[in-house]
Subunit: 900 residues, 2 copies
């Protein structure tokens, strides 16, 4: 025994519970695991819990830290706890007269698939079985239990294949000429026990352990071993659970739901987990053990008479069949709900008429149920509003806002891409935006399928029920635009090869033609052949109530990223408090605007560019008038032109002639200009503020459109507009100084022309690492910063979001990324730059307004970060506004808790 | 008079000098300007300086700070100084009996074009002119001086066009029927004075100022005004001179070199500024003013007899013509050189046999001269070795290492691109690398002209005398590779349109065909039609001596970026102390390597990739054996594969069939794979460590090649090799952890196979902002960091070096960039990340080795920064190694000075 272990000898490794008391409690979840903590808590509040004890998670950690050996002192503490359980039950573990049988269950902080579930009836051997036969007078029950124990223990502890036992049972029944387990007699089960033991002997070369203590240590070891199972490890990685947490082991005296027809076992929810309705909800089986309910061989019955009648079933409910036990159960579940102040998911067993509570935990529920339960519980006085707000997972709101596939409907999944924009859509395949428009005009529902999308595809995306691309990540053009539109999108479905020339796409050796019907699920990434029934979302009054409470709590403002009137209206309905990002370039692609834009790009000189811009000016102005009107009284941040000019020129050979004709130029000239403008890395190219420096007339036109629109909209609505003009891609103070001076000059000009005094703010995106580093001096020129965390993530990580799909999965699998950094802000890398820029910006200009307008603005973890570093607002796509509102409220609550 | 001004009344604004004393001194350059400080110094050391005074740079600053008004107290101090000058000369400024005439000159801290140069003879008017005629008896001299004064003053102070006066003089001579100025008589000049005054009256609507004081204030005001001239401002921007420095004004009693044949004026260098030879060197004109020497109307004569005889001229030298004045001058220049301990550029005037020193300053010189002078002065005991090392501009060494165009040769410049790689080259135009090879094989000198180059062009670049591209910046592929090869390169010559199909390129409406001869100057960016004579570089013994002294002083090690044996050898000759960056991908393009590489990329699975890599392994290993052998005893850092895989596939339609045949695959398959691998932003794509994560077998093969080569080379040379294996594009600790573990495993394997113990280091590039931020935890895995400042600049600034050419000039013109950030490290942005990463890396691992391997490693300013933040080495292209060695020495000296 090493001295390291010896030092631990005095440490408490085992916590007892039962008989109305416990050494643990519900708040000791980290030490005792969720199950152990709740068993202790139930004991403490006087519920009937079979006595037992919890071996703590610290033992698990020590076990792995010390080369898989147990800490000193554990053995003695375990023996003492066993004695205590024995004293309460009047039994002795391993005793051939009054044997104590045990269950062994794992129990980590959070429930986790891949962990060993349960071994029941531990302590049975030939001697204790005989003693139990004598005691119960029910040899059939005892040997059935015995063979179940061998089977279960062998499978989970000894790693003997489960099917060997199943096969032996089948052979046995075949030999007897019977088909049903219920036809097995006591001696049949006893014979099978012998067969089972032989199987173990044959498989392992050693006998099944007869010694009860050896069985117990085997069970505990299996629980700890399962902590490192491949499945558990994978789950931990995906859910960001530390390997160091470890699992606890719960050892409990057995109670039997299968001791005859006055025994039963069941599971229940204290409220309906699908709807949230306040009605006791669950099922039970008479004369059965817990595993039978799950196994689904027998059909369980309803707990309440009401439920039975509603379902039109004749089998009696527990309420009718065992009214006393049901009354006890009712008292127990009410006590539990009142105690935990949340809907509970409970397990119980009735042994010869006596109720035992085996488990309680917060019940999983649908988002709709979660909302209803939270709001109801506030009405019932169980919880306050803040607690209600804290109960809802912000990300789960997505499923309320979009249609979803009927989970029970069958489907043929063709392939899977990235879940790029939530919701589901069904329609006929269209391969070009033109075709999509044509089909939509004919009244068809369309899914636009492209290798990737570009701003020129917007009109086709608008008319489609969903977008599917074979390339691009979670923040590719298709994904970002689809989220903005609230349309489902599956991106980066790499197995798809789009072949427009042949009029279809191939996937997994299968050809899908234009016009064929497919369904996409933007919440899972599934691409499905044919139509799948949908469930339409409903926004309940509960939703409105809860969002209202969230708004009372949060400090962060929530704006939206929107450039179309439609998006702006949607966002306001969802509670947006202004526009944080209006991407003006999206306005340049429609109709004859793109023609004027191309004329500008092809112009030989500034005069030519100005002439073309003059055509765009009135259209831009009208756009802004609409947005300012919809957002009357709320701030609107307009970002000046950002993408490189070649995005506005055709890219495909087939388009050049058409485009040249449209703008009346030579094809060769158009090609030459497109070739001149082509860039190796457009993301790092001649774009953003760099365009503003090279072609002052572009930003001047845009500034004029904004100022004129502000005056018009202000006059129309009576609410003066104070536009926020945002310069993208600033890397140096000087760039902003030059561009701000020009914007100021345009403001002065417009003010003079209209004899009006203009109120406006000029600020910048912080979306380059250098801008973050130099934020102190950039703030000399900027009245606000908006963190463009999409581009900031691209540059800080050196990862193009359009190209990341090719290695993202490798990175998630290797555990390099725990999450796609374009979905949830990389707080320790990109986040350090954001925090540093906020700090340096405020040092220069204490009242600088700070917000975030990247895709991260709608991600709850990122919203929490934004709140923590003191930003003023987040801005996200319209459909994520409710999520951001809720996340902001929870972030504020968390921050207050930390401050207390 | 504002109170602000009044507060300055007691301040000293004016510094007197003359008659063997001065209020200023040479070290007061910031206050007095260079010229003023040196005039004071010359006075102090007893040289004959016409008395005068300096109006300080603070007056200039105050002038602009206070809305172009002079500070209080200046007027009185100026009057007092005038009196002092008058007392020494026995004259009075503006006095109609014994008038004092003055010169007014500007003088900033550094000499600066665009500043007002000189106004001579100030104080002349009709009355003082008459007095001077009386005094000198030389009316012709006086009226000639008078008209010169009006002409000069009008042009520089009153802004009257110079040509008006030239025209009037021509008219006058025409009227007289003469052609030479020397034929003008006294009265002709006097008449011309009247005409000149009329011109001023006509142009300005007011008379030329007769009042001497008014003339003086006008002159002073003109100097200050010229500080803000467009040309001066541009110069300051380009040379990074602060607008706040201001200029001083030097006012001095006139002396006359044009008072007859016993008068003269001249300029001289104390040593030969072209060769550095220790011989007095200069020229003079008898009976002339300073401007005449510069104007070039009369041919000046030699100063010394030796020079005259060597040139075979008959006109007597100053030494022969005025031996006494020459003796005085000799004493003066020797005194000056000894005093300043540097070669001086002096101006003097002899007035009626009396020598006056007008100016001294450090003389400009060629790099070759600078080297010789510095080394000679050490031998003479004038300066020590450190001072000699400090005297050479490291960047200037470039011209010693490369051929340059004869500056006097005529040339027809077609266009200008970026000076991407220094030196000059002449040859016939080749448009493809294949054509270049063919022409080179035929013994022709070739200039490879491409839109841009890619790694596939390397073989063509190797055989060319120079590279010209129409696209790409200072760190584009062409630029980087050319610098590595020491070949001249002009990149981003945007006016050129390469048309390979038509077999030529167009520039400025002119067609140049393949085979036509052009010349490029990679030091200036010029593209020239035809051949231009070259000057070949010579490396003198002085160079070796000075570099040796630099090596004694510097702390930073200097390594080279090299992957070919040729580059490695060149770099060692230039003093490289190892390889800091060996880019292994460059090794993959040659011959059948690229075929194997393509096979690997097209392989269906890992086994297929491994089979292809097995073919590359022996070639890689041989490469490394060669490098390790050349660098025996020195460290070699090998970077594992970095570029995205699509770089190895063909890009042009025409190449697919050929390549498919070579590797024996289907064209359609090759196209599909190329299309799958294509990236929107390759710079931010699936490359570097990301390839290592996705395809472990690639890095495993490379690690094996390195380890096996290390053992082989170590055995052959007897010097054990400790390779440094560098993983590119790390963004997270985890990536490096995974890849390092694999490299360690390969090392263990190779060690076991060869029964050898391997010594090696694993480290990483820090080339992404996130890597810099997380350097603390990355250092847990990295034994060294090499800052890849090219990519770090790209990501920090969000600028693609391949695309920056389109706006770089706009940015330089607007003053946003003072230098291309890919040429000189952006110290305040990118530099902050480098410094922070160094600090965080060292906090984790105090002995971590830190270096820089971006292009900045050869830039003197960047080297100084690397020294200041305590890096261990810089690594640069072979031809920049001497520059880095010298810059490192100067950086060490500067750092020691700061510490003192």
């Amino acid at each position: 025994m090493s001295s390291k272990h010896a030092a631990n000898a005095g440490h408490k490794w085992v916590y007892f519970f039962g008989d109305g008391m416990a050494e643990g409690a519900a708040d000791m979840r980290d030490l005792l695991g969720g199950k152990g903590a709740n068993l202790a808590e139930m004991s403490n509040i006087g519920l009937p819990v079979p006595p037992g004890f919890t071996v703590t998670t610290e033992v698990c950690t020590a076990f792995y830290a010390n080369n898989r050996s147990y800490p000193d002192g554990l053995d003695a503490q375990l023996a003492a706890a066993l004695d205590q359980v024995g004293a309460i039950t009047g039994r002795v573990f391993g005793d051939p007269e009054r044997p104590l049988l045990l269950s062994v269950r794992s129990g980590a902080r959070v429930s986790m698939p891949g962990m060993m579930d349960t071994v029941l009836n531990l302590g049975l051997n030939d001697a204790t079985a005989q003693a139990l036969v004598k005691e119960t007078g029910d040899a059939r029950f005892v040997y059935d239990s015995y063979r179940r124990f061998i089977q279960m223990y062998s499978a989970v502890v000894l790693d003997v294949a489960h099917h060997l036992f199943e096969d032996a049972l089948d052979d046995h029944k075949l030999g007897l000429g019977i088909t049903q387990d219920t036809d097995m007699k006591a001696e049949d089960w006893r014979d099978l026990v012998a067969t089972y033991k032989q199987i173990v002997q044959d498989e392992l070369g050693e006998a099944f352990p007869e010694d009860a203590k050896q069985q117990l240590w085997g069970g505990i070891g299996a629980v700890f071993g399962s902590w490192q199972s491949a499945r558990a490890k994978t789950y931990r990685r995906i859910h960001n659970i530390s390997d160091d947490w470890g699992t606890a082991v719960n050892v409990q005296a057995m109670v039997f739901g299968n001791m005859g027809n006055d025994s039963a076992t069941g599971v229940a929810f204290t409220r309906n987990p699908a709807t949230g309705e306040k009605s006791f909800y669950g099922e039970f089986l008479v004369n059965a053990q817990g595993e039978d309910v799950v196994a689904g061989i027998r059909t369980p019955q309803h707990l309440t008479r009401a439920a039975r009648e509603q379902a039109g079933e004749s089998d009696l409910s527990l309420e009718e069949r065992m009214p006393e036990a049901f009354a006890e159960l009712t008292e127990a579940y009410r006590k539990l709900e009142a105690h935990y102040r949340d809907m509970q998911d409970i397990e119980f067993t009735i042994e010869r008429g006596k109720l035992w509570m085996l488990q309680t935990r917060s019940g999983k529920r649908t988002t709709q149920a979660a909302l209803k339960i939270a709001v109801d519980m506030v009405a019932e006085g169980l919880i306050d509003r803040a607690e209600a707000v804290g109960r809802i997972d912000p990300a789960s709101l997505d499923q309320l806002l979009h249609p979803s596939l009927d989970p029970d409907a069958p489907r043929e999944v063709l392939t899977r891409g990235l879940p790029a924009s939530p919701g589901a859509g069904t329609g006929e395949v269209a391969l070009t935006p033109e075709k999509a428009e044509e089909m939509a005009a004919a009244g068809k529902s369309v899914i636009l399928v492209r290798t990737e999308t570009s701003p020129e595809d917007i009109h086709g995306m608008h008319v489609s029920a969903g977008i599917l691309t074979s390339r691009g990540g979670m923040t590719s053009h298709a994904a970002v635009v689809a989220r903005g539109m609230g349309k489902p999108c599956v991106s980066g479905a790499g197995a798809i090869r789009v072949n427009a020339a042949e009029g279809g796409f191939e996937v997994a050796g299968r050809k899908i033609a234009e016009g064929d019907v497919i369904t996409i699920d933007g919440s899972t990434g599934e691409v499905i052949l044919g139509a799948v029934p949908m469930i339409q979302p409903e926004l309940s009054g509960d939703f409105a109530a809860l969002m209202g409470w969230a708004d009372e709590i949060r400090r962060l403002k929530v704006r939206t990223n929107a450039e179309t009137p439609e998006d702006a209206r949607t966002a306001r309905q969802f509670g947006a408090e202004g526009i944080g990002l209006c991407r003006t370039e999206h306005m340049f692609f429609e109709g004859n605007r793109v023609v004027a834009m191309r004329e500008m790009i092809l112009a030989e000189d500034e005069a030519g560019r100005r002439a073309a811009l003059a055509k765009i000016l009135p259209m831009q102005r009208d756009d802004f008038v609409q947005l300012f009107t919809i957002m009357a009284g709320l701030p609107v941040t307009v970002r000046l032109l950002d993408p490189p000019l070649h995005e506005f020129l055709p890219h495909k050979d087939s388009e050049f002639a058409e485009v040249a004709a449209a703008i009346g130029c030579d094809v060769a000239e158009l090609r030459a200009r497109a070739s001149d403008l082509a860039e190796a890395n457009p993301m790092l190219g001649h774009r953003g503020a760099r365009l503003g420096i090279s072609y002052p007339e572009i930003y001047e036109m845009q500034a004029r459109a904004i100022f004129e629109a502000a005056l018009t909209a202000g006059a129309q609505t009576g609410a003066p507009v104070t536009p926020e003009i945002m310069v993208p891609l600033i890397a140096t103070r000087k760039e902003l100084e030059i561009l701000k001076a020009r914007i100021d000059a345009v403001a002065a000009e417009v003010g003079k022309e209209k004899s009006a005094s203009l109120s406006y703010h000029v600020g910048t995106m912080i979306e380059l690492p250098r801008a973050a580093l130099r934020a102190g001096e950039i703030a000399e020129q900027a009245e606000f910063f908006s963190f463009g965390t999409n581009d900031l993530t691209q540059t800080t990580y050196g990862i193009s979001r359009d190209d990341s799909a090719s290695f993202l999965n490798d990175y998630l699998r290797a555990g390099i990324f725990t999450q796609d950094p374009f979905v949830s802000l990389d707080q320790e890398g990109v986040g350090e730059l954001v925090a540093l820029a906020a700090e340096r910006g405020r040092a220069t200009r204490p009242d600088i307004k700070l917000g975030i307008c990247g895709e991260h603005g709608g991600d709850p973890d990122s919203v929490r970060f934004c709140n923590a570093i003191g930003l003023d607002y987040v801005s996200c796509s319209p459909y994520r506004v409710p999520i951001a509102r809720l996340a902001a409220a929870q972030a504020a609550m968390a921050a207050r808790e930390r401050d207390v």
